[in-house]
């Protein structure tokens, strides 16, 4: 029906065997998921010196010196630091060694002494030439650029290698000694969703045995916040009400809050994962990508519907087989209605069987890293059979009529077997990932 949409594969099953996150709710995926289930928002006031109040969800608990020596940090922007840490945590999870030291001596916390790394965690799982790194990043090292403009009389000599958008992928590759494809996808808010889909294709085609796939974004710096404020897409809020600033699908929504962090999945074939006795959290069963080709920033329901249909088709599932949608849900006046219309067009009479939430209400919009973080949350929802809430939506907008998860601590229906994560980008590129219970 939609020949233009890019189909995912239907061959080899792709398993998710490792999860790693460094974000607004900390660096433990399970603790993060528990906080989201309780409806806890990490959005806080930032940069009180700005003329207009700003709120964002930062990776405030991240400690770079747990992962790098000071010397190693020369020329490494925060966006790459977050990526290195989240990718390492995902790989340790895939090895079954979270809590153990990198290098495998089995003592201490992960990454406590980065100088002690001798055996990269990834190479404990696969041949370096058979490993790929697929990273989504929207903006690169915003902090490095901000410092170059505003830091002082001289521009730091490592500004260029710090801010280039493919630096996070390269730093992950160097830390993990990856010799296969190391690729960066910069597709605005769909960057890391597409990175994960492309990684799954490479696994499925047998191009790599192991894929480290995710995204990183660290653009909570004054210049970038001012630019987003100028675009009139950020949520407005009363002083003291920052945590509730982002209200997707609510009648009183006013836009989004920016978020910061990195999230990574480890992907490998289900066959390989089974052979090494690895736990599979979920299978990445389908993906769909499409372009609106209508407007750079105005979303288009028909374009989004093409990506949704492509994801279903590639997984061989019907709409009613999918129990949960982690929505793009940026809480803009236009965007949420368009997303609802796209879901209604594809789900039709089955729309009410689809539970929907935008967890951005709690972790903000991580832009290039949003797709990866939300894919990780979707995987954990399937794994635990629990649905994180669409927070701060006391009065849903009638124009966004969906079966929203309005309550915290929601259990999934008994027959919950599949879930999707949607990412719809500026530029008109849409990406949908479809996960199934293994």
């Amino acid at each position: 029906v939609n020949g233009a949409a890019v189909l995912g594969g239907t061959g080899l099953a792709v398993a998710v065997t490792g999860l790693g996150v460094v974000g607004p709710h900390g660096n433990d995926p399970q603790a993060m998921f528990a906080a989201l289930m309780r409806g806890e928002s990490a959005v806080r006031s930032v940069f009180p010196e700005l003329a207009k109040p700003a709120a964002a969800a930062t990776a405030a608990a991240f400690d770079a010196l747990r992962w790098f020596t000071k010397l190693q940090l020369a020329g490494v922007d925060r966006v790459s630091q977050l990526a290195v840490a989240a990718a390492e945590l995902a790989l340790l999870d895939a090895v079954g060694a979270v809590g153990a030291s990198p290098g495998g001596d089995g003592t201490g916390a992960a990454g406590t002494d980065s100088t002690a790394v001798t055996i990269p965690t990834a190479t404990r799982l696969a041949d370096p030439e058979r490993i790929g790194v697929y990273v989504g990043c929207g903006m690169g090292g915003a902090g490095a650029l901000d410092l170059a403009y505003r830091g002082g009389p001289r521009v730091p000599p490592l500004t260029i290698p710090a801010f280039m958008p493919n630096a996070p992928a390269s730093h992950v590759a160097m830390r993990q000694r990856v010799h296969g494809p190391v690729l960066t996808y910069s597709v605005a808010c769909a960057s890391s969703s597409l990175a994960i889909a492309e990684a799954a294709k490479a696994v499925q085609r047998g191009e790599v045995d192991l894929a480290i796939a995710g995204g990183s974004e660290a653009l909570i710096v004054p210049g970038v916040v001012l630019a987003w404020q100028a675009m009139m897409t950020l949520a407005t809020f009363d002083a003291g009400a920052e945590a509730r600033a982002m209200r997707p699908f609510a009648a009183d929504r006013s836009g989004f809050a920016l978020g910061e962090g990195a999230a990574f999945l480890v992907l490998e074939s289900a066959e390989r994962a089974g052979a090494r006795g690895a736990r599979a959290y979920a299978h990445l069963a389908g993906w769909g990508s499409s372009s609106d080709a209508t407007h750079l920033t105005k979303p288009d329901a028909a374009g989004q519907a093409r990506a949704l249909r492509a994801a279903l088709r590639s997984a061989g599932l019907r709409p009613q087989d999918v129990g949960y949608c982690n929505a793009h849900g940026t809480a803009t006046r236009i965007g949420d209605v368009v997303e609802r219309d796209a879901l209604a067009a594809v789900w039709g009479d089955a729309l009410d069987t689809l539970r929907v939430s935008s967890t951005k209400s709690m972790h903000g919009h991580l832009l290039g890293a949003a797709g990866a973080l939300e894919a990780l949350i979707t995987v954990l929802a399937l794994h635990h059979r629990r649905l994180p809430p669409n927070a701060h939506c006391s009065a849903p907008d009638p124009a966004c009529a969906l079966n929203l998860v309005l309550e915290p601590e929601a259990a999934a229906p008994a027959a919950f077997e599949a879930a999707i994560s949607s990412s719809f980008a500026f530029g008109g590129t849409n990406s949908v990932l479809l996960f199934r219970r293994p």
Partner: protein
């Protein structure tokens, strides 16, 4: 030990986290983990600290002893 050497050790410890005991006057900075780019960052910091301007070829210096000698020499010269 010259006071400049001690000051450079302090600066490098502060900025790059390398132990002063680990960076004697004859130790190779490259062997301690500096590469050409991080060394330039280090030279920028030294220039800023002493308000001096080092020559491009000074970025080939590999020991703190040599670096301290260059700094002392530049500081002894009247400002151009």
């Amino acid at each position: 030990m010259s006071s400049t050497l001690q000051e450079l050790q302090d600066l490098i410890h502060e900025k790059f986290g390398i132990d002063k005991a680990d960076l004697g006057p004859n130790a190779s900075m490259r062997e301690k983990g500096f590469d050409s780019l991080s060394l330039v960052e280090c030279l920028f910091a030294i220039e800023d600290k002493y308000a001096i301007s080092m020559r491009d070829e000074d970025s080939n210096i590999d020991t703190l002893g040599e670096l301290a000698a260059v700094v002392d020499k530049l500081r002894a010269q009247p400002a151009a």
